[in-house]
Symmetry: C2
Subunit: 98 residues, 2 copies
Amino acid sequence: MLDFDKLDKLIHEKGRLSIMTLLASRAEWPFQELKAQLNMSDGNLITHLRTLHQAGYVSFTKEMLDRPQTRYALTTKGRQAFQVYLKLLEEIIKTSRS
Amino acid sequence: MLDFDKLDKLIHEKGRLSIMTLLASRAEWPFQELKAQLNMSDGNLITHLRTLHQAGYVSFTKEMLDRPQTRYALTTKGRQAFQVYLKLLEEIIKTSRS
């Protein structure tokens, strides 16, 4: 049977799931581009990114271009945790359609 | 881009997702069998089933056998909502691995 206790609550929350999905799809995301893709306030986005960063799932790089820019990326730990999560989603789909 | 606002919060919650996954995998589930499959207290399970019933996703049938038995099943509406949810999971997996 599927072990739903393995479902990573940090990732499963809707807002963070949307962020993780975007981060997984590219090497790096500037904050403004993440924001443009997500229907989320600055405050919410920042809070979720901080939570993911504190869990060790997300790294950020700050750089002074014309103006300050912060870019976000999945860490190896974050990528691994997300792979485990996606694997469980696949099992959910498989079980549901069996 | 993926529309995470379409993610059905009723289904996405971990406990209810585990229930929906089980219900989708069989025509009917007696309460005791659901409970045996899930790592959940009676109270939690009943609360989640009630929420899903009130949303129109789950029907139940009560019958007097040797002792009272209640069996749960997905409704047509619940099955459709779950299909939409699973479709979004598939898109998340696809996007993440692109």
